[in-house]
Amino acid sequence: MFETIAQQLLLGLTNGMVFALVALGYTMVYGILEFINFAHGDVFMLSAFFALTLVGAWGVPGLDGATLAGVLLAIVALTTVFGAGVNWSVDRLVYKPLRKAPKLAPLVSAIGVSFVLQNVGLVWGAAKMEVFGGGGQPAAPKSFPALLPTTNLLGGSSLTLQVKDVLVIAASLTVMAGLYVLVTRTKLGKAMRATAQDPQTARLMGIDVDAVIGATFLIGGGLAGFAAVVYALYINTVYYQMGYQNGLYAFTAAVVGGIGNIPGAVLGGLLLGLVRALSDQFIGAQWQPAVLFGILILILVFRPAGLLGSTAREKV
């Protein structure tokens, strides 16, 4: 019993890391624009497709040792850049012209972008590459090769802690720490926080609000791209609708932590990952959406501002 729980908690922790990385993208954009970027999950999905394409193009499954590590790092870096680029372009092309429009307009546009990107994923799935299963069935899930070492670090114990678990957790923590430093210690971070608090005043203080928004989309997209590689390497499946469900969970994580709050997104992501793992074990995986939705409702009833959100009156 204890071991089952410990094992599930470990699984939840790694899953939670991915949720947290995606949730950060939602929460940063919301913090500045008060807008739910529905397409964020699909940037995550497209990044996973991009990574899979690189894996196929470079013949990665055949490599090993130092070459493999180097190529993997290159894939991580390129996918991060890809995610950042996609997210940034979407903002420039679609959301930017709607900055002054009523709130409904960008929200509906984001839903539209989400569907377009999903369709792109579907079409991408038809690529005539071996890793895509020859492209005959665009909608079918593609398997992402298991490239990370799965050696159990706890050799004799019945618990498993694989090298890949440690890698995923360590890499995610590093990225989050980097983000934390960026937001709290750098000039850009200061500008972002100022813009989040009050865009008009920030503009008057000489902050280029537009550039800050662009940077936010870049960073959020980069995090989604990074999360996509981590997810693909860990779960080993990529499919065109993976952005929808993971995006929904990640957004829930952002709300649970307190939307607009960066540590909140991480906390919410980890919490949701843990709850999901435990509910899969003790209630049943088929009830996963119901359990997580129940938690969302509970949070909204008891702490509408989220766990770490400020309790400022939202009426005004």
């Binding site: 008060e34 807008f35 739910i36 679609v94 012209p97 709607l98 002054k100 429009a101 009523p102 709130k103 409904l104 307009a105 960008p106 929200l107 509906v108 546009s109 839903i111 539209g112 972008v113 989400s114 569907f115 377009v116 990107l117 999903q118 369709n119 792109v120 579907l122 079409v123 038809a126 492209g135 005959g136 069935q137 665009p138 929808y244 469900q245 929904l248 957004f251 829930t252 709300v255 088929q286 009830w287 996963q288 959406p289 119901a290 997580l292 939705f293 969302l296 409702i297 909204l300 009833v301 509408p304 939202e314 009426k315 005004v316």
Partner: protein, 371 residues
């Protein structure tokens, strides 16, 4: 606005379409022409689908257009209506309400579900509702799949009670052709309910309730300071819209004679309905109807023809993407983006919503600053 002016406005397009819709089954000239051209269209069957979706779009319009609540789970209430119809009418359960009874039960259950979801969440920040309703839709789909002993899972409950056909219609349609008679009754029932809903809402727009909706959309805080209760008004709109969506669900299940696969009530469907509404014009009844006619008509009538034509061109070596349905979401998504960018008020806009969408109300951005 004078009565005559209002009538003249309605006489233009809608009256013509209504006349066509009423007379169509009696003079099946379109199908005859289509048969002659060797295209099996079955327009009457497809018109029933359009009526049902029209009702659904009108329901969503109550929530999104009138009350300004971005609701992404309308398909869930549609599904609740369909499933209620299944449970209260199928043979294997003891309820046997029949079609007409289901028409009463389905909206009631859907409205209760709306209250249950709306009560804890509607007072919160508006955009949370989008995610809550989206989540609710996802949960409903999984619940329908997982509660197999009630819903029969992916197979759906069937046979749902068929629409009841009075004797004279049976004779009218000709003996031995029960399907034809059923379709005829279904057609007129769906049309009648759609027209009833539209008339009711058309009047509602012009009463104090309609005025309260506009006030709430423009400046919720100012409206609250006038004594309007935003939470209660939104809840009423949410539950009312849910009831209408449930009614549409009841018709849908009856028309198919099964509650069908729960994926029929998922997010994609909700977005298609939202697309219809936005294409037609938020808050505008005629927009909602024509949006449904255009998009659902396109999806139901033209796209199968399109696919057939492409298949005929491609022959055996057909690429999996060489069909319209593989690009469907691309088309819908781009439509949403383009509409929001260039014509957020839709093709047939409501005057007020159009103004609101082109210049945000002062109250929505300027908060009450402490002085």
């Amino acid at each position: 606005m004078t009565v005559a002016g209002s009538w003249r406005k309605w006489l233009s397009l809608e009256a013509g379409l209504l006349l066509f819709a009423v007379l169509y089954p009696l003079v099946p000239f379109v199908d005859l022409a289509a048969d002659a051209a060797d295209l099996s269209v079955h327009l009457d069957q497809r018109l029933v689908t359009i009526f049902i979706y029209g009702l659904l779009v009108v329901a969503l319009n109550v929530q999104v257009g009138y009350a300004g609540l971005l609701q992404l789970g309308v398909a869930a209430f549609f599904g609740i209506g369909a499933m209620t119809t299944g449970v209260v009418t199928v043979d294997k359960y003891p309820f046997h309400f029949g079609f007409w009874g289901a028409l009463l039960a389905a909206p009631a259950v859907a409205a209760l579900a709306g209250l249950f979801i709306g009560a804890p969440t509607l007072r919160l920040r508006g955009d949370y509702l989008a995610i809550v309703t989206l989540g609710f839709g996802e949960v409903l789909r999984t619940v329908l799949v997982n509660l197999e002993s009630i819903t029969d899972g992916p197979r759906g409950l069937n046979p749902v009670a068929e629409v009841w056909v009075p004797g004279f219609v049976r004779e009218l349609a000709g003996a031995g052709d029960d399907n034809e008679a059923r379709l005829l009754v279904m057609y007129y029932v769906a049309l009648l309910l759609l027209v009833a809903a539209v008339v009711l809402l058309h009047v509602l727009e012009r009463t104090r309730i309609g005025r309260a909706f506009v006030a709430l959309r423009e400046d919720e805080l100012a409206a609250a300071c006038m004594g309007l209760d935003p939470g209660r008004i939104k809840l009423a709109a949410f539950a009312g819209g849910a009831a209408l969506a449930g009614l549409a669900g009841a018709l849908y299940a009856t028309n198919l004679t099964t509650t069908a696969d729960p994926t029929n009530y998922d997010f994609n469907n909700a977005i298609m309905v939202l697309c219809c509404l936005i294409l037609g014009g938020l808050g505008s009844l005629r927009g909602a109807l024509l949006g449904a006619a255009l998009l659902i008509g396109f999806d139901n009538v033209l796209s199968p023809l399109l696919d057939k034509a492409i298949a005929a061109l491609a022959g055996d070596a057909q690429h999996p993407l060489a069909k319209y349905s593989a690009w469907r979401w691309f088309v819908f998504g781009s439509a949403l983006i383009a509409m929001m960018r260039y014509r957020p008020e839709g093709l047939f806009p409501a005057r007020r919503v159009a103004q609101e969408l082109h210049e945000p109300p002062a109250g929505s951005t300027a908060a009450v600053e402490p002085s």
